[in-house]
Point group: C2
Chain length 426, copies 2
Amino acid sequence: MEECYYMNQQRVFAMYHIETPYDLEYAAKVMAGEQSTGTFIAVPGETEELKDQFAAKVVSIEKLGEVPSPTLPGSKPPGGSNKSTSYNRGKVVLSFPLHNFGPSIPNLLATVAGNLYELREFSGLRLMDLELPNAFMEKYPGPKFGIEGTRKLANVYNRPLIGTIVKPSIGLTPDDLRIVVRDLAMAGIDFIKDDELNANPPYAPLKDRVKAAMEEIERVADKTGKKVMYAFNITDDIDQLERNHETVVKAGGNCVMVSINSIGLTGVAHLRKFSEVPIHGHRNQWGAMTRCPQLGMEFTAYQKLCRLAGVDHLHCNAIDSKFYESNESVIQSAKDCLTPMFGGYTVMPVLSSGQWAGTAQDSYASMETIDVMHLAGGGILGHPSGLEAGVKSMIQGWEAAVSGVSINEYAKTHTELKQAIEKFGK
Amino acid sequence: MEECYYMNQQRVFAMYHIETPYDLEYAAKVMAGEQSTGTFIAVPGETEELKDQFAAKVVSIEKLGEVPSPTLPGSKPPGGSNKSTSYNRGKVVLSFPLHNFGPSIPNLLATVAGNLYELREFSGLRLMDLELPNAFMEKYPGPKFGIEGTRKLANVYNRPLIGTIVKPSIGLTPDDLRIVVRDLAMAGIDFIKDDELNANPPYAPLKDRVKAAMEEIERVADKTGKKVMYAFNITDDIDQLERNHETVVKAGGNCVMVSINSIGLTGVAHLRKFSEVPIHGHRNQWGAMTRCPQLGMEFTAYQKLCRLAGVDHLHCNAIDSKFYESNESVIQSAKDCLTPMFGGYTVMPVLSSGQWAGTAQDSYASMETIDVMHLAGGGILGHPSGLEAGVKSMIQGWEAAVSGVSINEYAKTHTELKQAIEKFGK
């Protein structure tokens, strides 16, 4: 939200995009009623005084246009007709008294993103942004490491962390993994992560994967002085999450990864309480919550909740990825992550999917930051001169980007980048 | 799914509805590749042998039609053009080797409902159903109480449990609540639940609410012999969830409620491990996952995951509710809940929203069961002759329905039903 609401410590502000066959003022009142003191019929005890103290308020309404047909099914136009001739779109800001739920992520969700989505007064409803009072900051300390802590642990400064995902995603035994990790570590990579599909599978249990990977990482660190950061996917049931974290930390690991939407924001906040290493947040399933533009949640709101819960790194897709998301949306996501929250709560945006040395240029030009993790799968593993060249090509791509030189120009004096362009360039 | 896949103990079967500018066969292969062994470029180590062991397989494809324009944004038609002239819709069944992730709800989710939603080969993708091997049953024991256990605790047989939601949702002090609960209990209601908006708010902390409500419930039980089942909303952070549960149980409470999507399925499964009372599952936020028919998840799949995690009661909306959902969808949801899973895992469908005595008729006719919780807010609290009459009218509505008599006919000899029809009938 553009407005600064931090002045008011006692209310949560939520901004929505709505689409409705009703006029926007009426629709906004329905939202406010449903999520605070309303019911379908006046009931005893629902006094005006109670409403004053506990009602959600409509802060602002802005008309965004009209569409001739409803985006989502099931809306019921006024007057009982089956179809309206036009549906109003608008931006609505509501505020909720904090004392209705207190500084609790799960109970906040029931209020700002609960039954609202099912109301038949709407043919579209999307939570765009949230502004939370400081009480949330006091309850949830946010990212324990953030950008600074991650850089310190990885010992990488003045450029992005260059990383990769262990491939193939599925099927490597711990001994296979050992070789992959050794090669990547020797290639000088900063960061390795598990695929989100690979956590604690029977064919390669986490404890065996951790042992294999960490032995190789420590061995390489002894030789080269560089200890790779490895985000082990510890996604699991709540009890097991704690044991998995311990497995990683005891083996000298310095990062854990979780599928945020699989363990829930409460799972993340729980992990944050005892985690001794950065939490790498993967957002798989997020598409289900966001891909319909008139439903679910915008990343701007989502990333705030993730940071509040305590993730240190957060996936944002990437420029020219294999996914549906537009580059504009990806850029906005990275910028959202880099916007301070409660004056801090820094989180490192993770750019991943379809990446190679050449995508550094557009990433830097648009995001205007080097505070990202830049992950390439095939773009490193598939480099014609091998892994080390793959990593170097990525670093060279960023050097070119930051110094304002085109990659083709920079490639004239940098072989690895040149080879990457030949193989991966359009 | 119609087919019985239980014979094969080693694979998970997932059924999707997809919409794609590609031919369905190609699109199905993309799904299978993305969620198992694929990446955007062949990488070393991805051998044919490994693929055989770990690849997802396309089990069946059925064409469902074509649409002229894409439902969701961001799909990329073949050949690099910006727009296809038609989009194929189909039903696709994939199977995944269980050993890729093991019997773990959160890791299952990353596979069957993870990055898939973001693939640009699709303009629609919805998880419709799941068939899980018995290993999941061995790991997750499912509902601890189910229908039978709930009936036993509530001591209600041969008819639905009649219940209500404490209203106003927000703003009652513990002393206000005391009066509401006393009146409801004296009125002979079977079940009371908190609103999903009301869990552990600063103005009325859970422990004070539990104390007030349980004192009244016990006092009435001493008088009348009937102990109301009260589902206290214990939704909260993971640690607090355990403390909240203890608060309820120590006070003699016999049910807890959680917002499933706020604490996540892992949160529910965690609660299931120590819960001594039935878990009442509220599904707020579910609309965001399901309201776009070409995205997210169908309730058929969702309710299986909820049961696996251990909910004993599950909200399904209701006939003629205030929400967007069609009656057909509500009926299917109730039937899904009543379909055995692993030969058991019974869960009680909760019908709620816009309900009154008159909605029993259509509910029974369509769902063909009395194994439901039937909740009415205004339909009980707003009855012209008070709460007791409200509860009686609901029971009479079901008596009429089950005996095949119209409510108008039955109302001739049942005053409370008659008054309800006069007030709430269309």
